[in-house]
């Protein structure tokens, strides 16, 4: 009697299949590497998909210049360790214009440094497929997105006109300038991600583990002051609290949660009793109803 595949076995196989499909059919794929836990899982799966070869595409990090320092350290260490080809792109115009999350507002900052930055990078290198780590359980508009998600030459997603996606037969055809965003983790839930990290012993940024960190309470969120650029508003003070992050982005826009979970098991057990969904920690999703869909249509991942 042959062994039955577990739930995770199936998800892993599906993701590997998707990686290979892209490598076999696109001329210039890239993996969007955001340094978060989903990216770590994605990277792990990419290494598996092409073993004993290395993934036949570069990894792209769109650096908004406001990422946690530990993320950048981790990113560089992983690139060194696994030997993948890392491209770091910064929207220099945005930097020149002094875009930042405090004065420009979270929306503008994210749009220019992340969404526009991503578009610049994709255009500059002419990538025709880009892997992302989005999952359908994260958010309502993501729940509707195809695994192979078509973008026109302006990087626009048209949610009302998605290609049918039948079985595992993916339509990978694009005309010049068009591209496809590919989401190998579409069918994974947050629990699946953690379970897989635990099972495969996948390295993740230490920010996910609880530690005493300097935080400021702002707009109902705990923001870690990662460097001097974050000025304190009147009445604000820095507390050293045991916190960790459920999701990682720009540090001024990413809320920490108070927690004592300093092991993977601890994180999973906290998550099991948690009654708040993961994107809550991100300011951008709460700006307006349907905000994620709007951003996605504009080319945000």
């Amino acid at each position: 009697m042959l062994a039955r595949l577990t739930h995770l076995d199936r998800l892993e196989a599906e993701a590997i299949h998707i990686f290979r499909e892209v490598a076999a059919t696109f001329s210039k794929p890239v993996m969007l590497y955001s340094v978060g836990k989903d990216s770590s899982v994605l990277m792990h799966l990419a290494m598996k998909a092409f073993y004993p070869a290395k993934p036949p595409f570069p990894f792209l990090h769109v650096d908004t210049t406001w990422k946690f320092r530990e993320m950048i350290e981790f990113r560089d260490a992983m690139a060194e360790k696994l030997g993948f080809d890392l491209i770091v792109h910064i929207n220099e115009e945005g930097v020149r214009d002094g875009i930042n999350p405090f004065d420009s507002g979270s929306n503008t900052h994210t749009h220019i440094m992340k969404t526009v930055g991503l578009r610049q990078a994709l255009d500059r290198y002419g990538f025709d497929a880009a892997f992302g780590g989005a999952r359908r359980d994260e958010e309502k508009s993501r729940a509707k997105e195809r695994i192979f998600s078509f973008r026109d030459a302006q990087h626009v997603w048209d949610p009302k006109n998605q290609r049918p996606e039948m079985w595992k037969i993916y339509n990978t055809r694009v005309a010049k300038g068009e591209s496809i965003r590919v989401f190998p983790l579409s069918n994974w839930t947050e629990l699946d991600i953690w379970q897989y990290i635990l099972q495969e012993d996948i390295p993740i940024v230490p920010l996910y583990f609880a530690k005493e960190r300097p935080v400021v309470e702002r707009d109902g969120m705990l923001i870690m002051r990662d460097d001097e650029r974050m000025a304190l508003k009147p009445g604000e003070k820095i507390d050293h609290r045991m916190v960790r992050f459920r999701t990682l982005g720009c540090y001024p826009l990413t809320g920490a949660i108070e927690s004592g979970a300093d092991t993977l098991e601890g994180i999973v057990s906290e998550m099991l009793v948690a009654r708040t969904s993961e994107r809550q920690g991100r300011l951008i999703d709460r700006d307006e109803a349907g905000s994620m869909e709007k951003k996605k249509r504009e080319g945000y991942f």
């Binding site: 004993p52 339509n171 099991l272």
Partner: protein, 646 residues
């Protein structure tokens, strides 16, 4: 203090690991919800998520806020808003595209495809159905079976879904009336009788209030069947893919350097082990699995659903789109076939027009050569049609530019499916399910152009070999050889015996018994044996062949492992006593010159592959020894292969 924390952590770690181990044991069910608009699909999914505790507090807060803004349920939370994730959907209050949702119960994990009910979004419904194993068909108790209920059921059936839960919803709005439920159930059973569903389980529910969804309803006391969730947990979905013939669509050729060439893909059906023989579907070339490579280490074997990289024992030509398959149960390789087609595009299907056809990994040009009929999705009737409009279903003949490897969709949901792509817009315009190959192309397995030894042997389903029987005259060579051949023949092997006496009557009629002639005798026989084994035969040579040098010469003519020396070891005295042809008597009397063992030497083999000591044993027992040896060789070789890959 520190100590306490550690202990707590360890306890937590253990319980989390236990919990996760439990999660691992859960099986997975992928299903879709379908039915007409407003029958309550979204409400039902919201209810499933909420009653199985998948909705988080912040989502609930957003939901309450949105309910007041767009909701249709007055003051109650409108669960539909939870899943209608697109702005246009919330504004128009309809579901446009399929949404995937996740929940789990103590025994199963579920991926739900919530599919739209509007006819114009049928293609999105098909998207959700293509990866599902079960469909919940929702019916509004007040409306009964509608056109859309039938359309969705027929599409679900065409796309290979075998299990249906008929959820008769809004039962609260018909006063929980059993008669309504019974009528709808009977109507549906009548309609669906030809759709080939393995199970249809009707359940009366109220999605809005939760009756019989996750919780048994007291208000529906006349119903004693399972609740919806109970049925979802209980349904047995055929996990037969692993038992079916091996199919491995080659997705990607992994060639990092000259020393490694692997074929990457996902096993579509069946299983594969190191050492297994496989055939390249399109060329008919055979090889063996040398390694099953994964990053975590080589596997002994792998099953349907696993994504692996296979390394073959031989250099065979394979590229993406080809398939590695079981040699004894091959797919069709054809350029014409009949298929069911669902059309997705606003531009109608045009017979004669060229589309791109894509299977899981293969792609070629295709035209619909004949549209045989359109299937009326209300009553399953077949109607004449010149083209297929968007959302219509038809049966057609398709011709492809280059042959593809496939099975019928009924046999294999992976290797029997394809999509059609518009050449100009690159839109996915249709999805097809292959019914059968067409006559002309039917059942011709493409033989590789250069027929070589391998192909010949493969056609005979055997490994060629030369069993070289050596031993004194009268030792029993011919008797044992004949019995052995019978046995091989009975098991379907193709054999031939070269017997010393017979050959000397024909081919070697010109040779005597001098040493020179003996050498030439063996040389000729060895060459003939080689030709025969090249033809794929199992050759049994039964010759005294007294000299080591000639036997070695014969051995060296054959590929390694193919020459099997069998020493029929019967003592001289015994042979002389048996003397079936009276030769020993003559030789011993000096009337016969150069007789082996008398006045010509017999050089016994030093290390024969098989040593038969016949004294006191029957010929049948000797054949068994030969048989055992063959069996051992075959299993030993597998072990060798297993280790050889690392």
């Amino acid at each position: 203090m520190r100590h306490d924390i550690d202990n707590n952590n360890i306890a937590a770690a253990e319980s989390v690991r236990d919990y996760l181990a439990g999660q691992e044991r859960k099986s997975l069910l992928r299903f879709l919800t379908c039915g007409s608009v407003d029958d309550g699909k979204s409400t039902l999914i919201g209810r499933l998520l909420s009653d199985t505790k998948q909705i988080f507090e912040d989502q609930l807060a957003t939901l309450e806020r949105d309910s007041r803004k767009h909701g249709t349920t007055g003051d109650d939370v409108d669960f539909a808003l939870l899943v209608d994730g697109l702005e246009a959907e919330r504004e128009q209050g309809i579901t446009i595209d399929v949404a995937y949702r996740f929940f789990s119960t103590p025994t199963r994990k579920f991926i739900v495809a919530d599919t739209p009910g509007h006819e114009q979004y049928t293609r999105n419904m098909a998207t959700g159905a293509s990866t599902a194993d079960l469909a919940i068909v929702l019916v509004d108790a007040r409306q009964g079976i509608l056109a859309q209920t039938r359309r969705h059921s027929i599409i679900a059936s065409l796309l290979g879904i075998r299990h249906i839960v008929l959820a008769v919803n809004k039962i609260d709005l018909v006063d929980f009336d059993q008669a309504v439920f019974d009528t709808i159930t009977a109507d549906y059973a009548d309609f669906a009788k030809d759709l080939g569903f393995a199970s249809i389980v009707p359940v009366p529910i109220s999605a809005r209030y939760g009756d019989n969804v996750a919780r048994r309803s007291e208000r529906i006391d006349w119903y004693s069947g399972p609740t919806l969730v109970e049925q979802l947990e209980a349904v047995v979905v055929d996990d037969a893919a692993a038992e079916m013939p091996f199919r491995f669509p080659v997705q990607y050729v992994n060639r990092p350097n000259l020393d490694f060439r692997g074929f990457a893909g996902t096993i579509a059906s069946g299983s594969v082990s190191q050492g297994d023989e496989v055939v390249v579907a399109k060329s008919g070339k055979a090889s063996r699995i040398k390694r099953i490579v994964t990053q975590g280490g080589d596997l002994e074997s792998a099953v349907a659903g696993q994504a692996v990289t296979l390394v073959l024992a031989d250099e065979v030509e394979i590229s993406r789109g080809n398939m590695l398959v079981a040699p004894n149960a091959r797919p069709h390789v054809a350029d014409q076939f009949a298929a069911n087609l669902v059309w997705f595009n606003e531009h109608a299907l045009l017979p004669g027009r060229s589309y791109l056809l894509r299977t899981e990994t293969d792609q070629t040009s295709a035209t619909v050569t004949e549209l045989k009929c359109r299937i009326n999705v209300n009553n399953f009737a077949r109607e004449a049609a010149k083209s297929l409009e968007m959302n219509e279903v038809g049966i057609c003949n398709i011709s492809v530019q280059a042959p593809i490897a496939f099975d019928s969709f009924a046999d294999n949901r992976t290797s029997g499916a394809f999509i059609l792509i518009d050449r100009v817009t690159n839109a996915t315009v249709g999805a097809g399910m292959i019914v059968h190959a067409l006559r002309r192309a039917d059942n011709i397995h493409w033989q590789s152009l250069d027929v070589d030894k391998n192909e010949r042997a493969l056609a005979k389903n055997q490994r060629p070999a030369v069993f070289w029987f050596t031993g004194l005259s009268g030792s029993g060579k011919s008797t044992i050889a004949n019995l052995f051949e019978k046995k091989l023949h009975a098991s379907g092997k193709h054999t031939y015996i070269l017997d010393g006496d017979n050959v000397r009557h024909g081919l070697n009629r010109d040779l005597g018994f001098t040493d020179e002639d003996r050498v030439e005798n063996i040389r000729r026989v060895a060459e003939v044996a080689k030709l025969m084994s090249d033809a794929g035969l199992i050759v049994i040579v039964s010759f005294i062949s007294p000299f080591r040098a000639e036997r070695r010469m014969a051995r060296e003519l054959m590929p390694k492992g193919e020459f099997i020396e069998v020493f029929v070891d019967t003592p001289f005295e015994e042979c002389a006593k048996r003397d079936p042809k009276g030769l020993y008597a003559q030789a011993l009397a000096g009337k016969l010159k150069n007789f082996t063992g008398v006045d010509s030497p017999y050089e016994a083999p030093e290390s024969p592959e098989i040593h038969l000591k016949t004294l006191g044993k029957s010929p049948e027992m000797m054949v068994e020894t030969l048989d055992d040896w063959l069996r051992q060789r075959d299993s030993a070789e597998q072990q060798y292969d297993n280790g050889g890959g690392i």
